[in-house]
Amino acid sequence: MNKLILGRYLPGDSLLYRLDPRGKFLITFYFIGIVFLANNVASYGFLLLFVLFAVYLSKINLGFFLRGLRPMFWLILFTVVLQMFFTPSQHPLWSFGILTLSKEGLVISAYIFVRFVLIIFVSTLLTLTTTPIEISDSIESILKPLKAIKFPVTQVALMLSIALRFVPLLIDETTKIMDAQRARGVDFGEGGLIKRIKSFVPILIPLFVSSFSIAYDLAIAMESRGYKDGEGRSKYRVLSWSTRDTVAAIVMLLITVILLFIRSY
């Protein structure tokens, strides 16, 4: 349960922690976009170096990022193998029926692999250094212009932060209920498929019941403290854009220029 690294915050302090979450959020998505601009060994190598440098700046152990790859392992393997054997080529090194292995195929699958690593590392970097609440605040701030077309930005942001708040709560609750049912003799992950699926009923039902009751309690607690959504709510956490955020944005622009240069070189 607690081995999920993807989407998890790790308390710490470094330059990347202090960057404005809005900037970090946008930069992450921008970076994922420009990953697709890379088209040769030099450009992929350049991006990889940049990401490793960012990891170094975050002062977080590289192990965390490698563990972030683990849940995606099968997806990566599947995509890479697919590319490796199904890339059409004039000069196959080996072929069997519809399967062909060629130099081009190997190169493309290596690119795809690096692309996965880049994207997962960067998004792990964002979530490890940014609290979920900062992420939802920055989404609210970024979506603000949509207010003009009557999009309920504050409600969406509230829903998002409540949903995020529920994740650790539900994980705790699940662990608790699993322990209780284990103590009553349930063996999770033993027996045939049907038996395994059945063993989740004693978790899911209590989990539903308790999340409904937590949601009720939360709604009552919010109302009793006078929560009313709408215009003019002030913010407890104020986001502030500083020079280093501008610098980070400029660095990203430079990277794009260098990338475009390497790409056409």
Binding site: D179, A183, R184, G185, V186, P206
Partner: protein
């Protein structure tokens, strides 16, 4: 069953910067057929300690002997059923474990998992619902239609239905009304006098004074004291270090000793207190 902890250490998230010691070199001997209370502040490792007894958690180092069964870092998750059948565990707010559509089925769930026949499980359900002080008519109801206190009793019945030799209670009476909590505590005390081993985690010092034979005091993942309730509540060092609070009777005795009265050892239950006051009044 006697339960012996030998130098047990448990680290949460062992290979990670968030690692925290849940238990730090704890050695403790929980005696067979006794009522042992485990006390300590929130986060002191009480729950972590008892979760080792039925291998819900495994030690990072050290061993636990439960009867003649050994649990250590290498214990695997297979074949734990016989252990868990013998060690029943009532968690905090156990009503959150209810899930079946009738109370009867929910109580039968534990025994059936441990391979008891349906008939025997049914008999157990009928016996247990009466034992926890509810009418048999509740057996056909949905557990979700019951009040909080009734749900708690059904959940406790569900744990007792496997007839465990050792019963672990993690604050079983939190949030119950005073009458309800006395009934439940008396029930566990009766089970102990009938020959079960009871381990109770609690913040209620009066329960410790009234029911426990032995007390273990935990602080920051370490065991800092153990002994009879009388010894522990008269341990001046623990009191001055603010490691525990006293039962009501002892607080009353402390106040009395500021005027006219003199106690060699603080009485911890109401009956001890009243006998002692009577003795001193008649004696003086």
């Amino acid at each position: 069953m006697e339960i012996i902890f030998k130098h047990v250490t448990h680290a949460y998230e062992a290979n990670n910067p968030l690692a925290a010691l849940g238990l730090d070199d704890v050695s403790v001997d929980i005696k067979d057929k006794k009522f042992t209370a485990i006390i300590g502040k929130t986060g002191s490792g009480k729950s972590t300690l008892v979760r080792h007894i039925n291998a819900l958690l495994k030690p990072t180092s050290g061993t636990i002997m439960v009867g003649d069964r050994e649990i250590n870092a290498e214990t695997n998750n297979k074949n734990l059923k016989s252990l868990r059948k013998n060690v029943g565990m009532v968690f905090q707010f156990p009503e959150s474990q209810l899930f079946e559509d009738t109370v009867e089925k929910d109580i039968m769930f534990g025994p059936m998992n441990f391979g008891v026949s349906e008939e025997d499980a049914k008999t157990a359900a009928h016996d247990m619902i009466k034992l926890v002080g509810l009418d048999e008519k509740y057996l056909s109801k949905s557990p979700f239609d019951l009040s909080g206190g009734q749900m708690r009793r059904v959940a406790i019945a569900g744990v007792l239905a496997t007839h465990p030799e050792t019963i672990i209670l993690d604050e079983p009476t939190a949030g119950l009304d005073p009458v309800g909590r006395k009934e439940i505590m008396d029930l566990f005390k009766n089970l102990q006098t009938e020959g079960r081993t009871i381990i109770l985690i609690t913040h209620n010092m009066d329960d410790v004074a009234n029911y426990a034979d032995e007390v273990v005091v935990m602080h920051d993942g370490k065991k800092i004291a153990e002994g009879t309730p009388m010894e522990v509540f008269n341990n001046q060092k623990l009191l001055t270090d603010d490691m525990l609070t006293l039962p009501q009777s002892a607080i009353f005795a402390q106040k009395l000793s500021q005027k006219y009265f003199n106690f060699d050892q603080l009485p911890i239950t109401i009956s001890d207190l009243s006998t002692e006051i009577k003795r001193q009044i008649n004696g003086d």
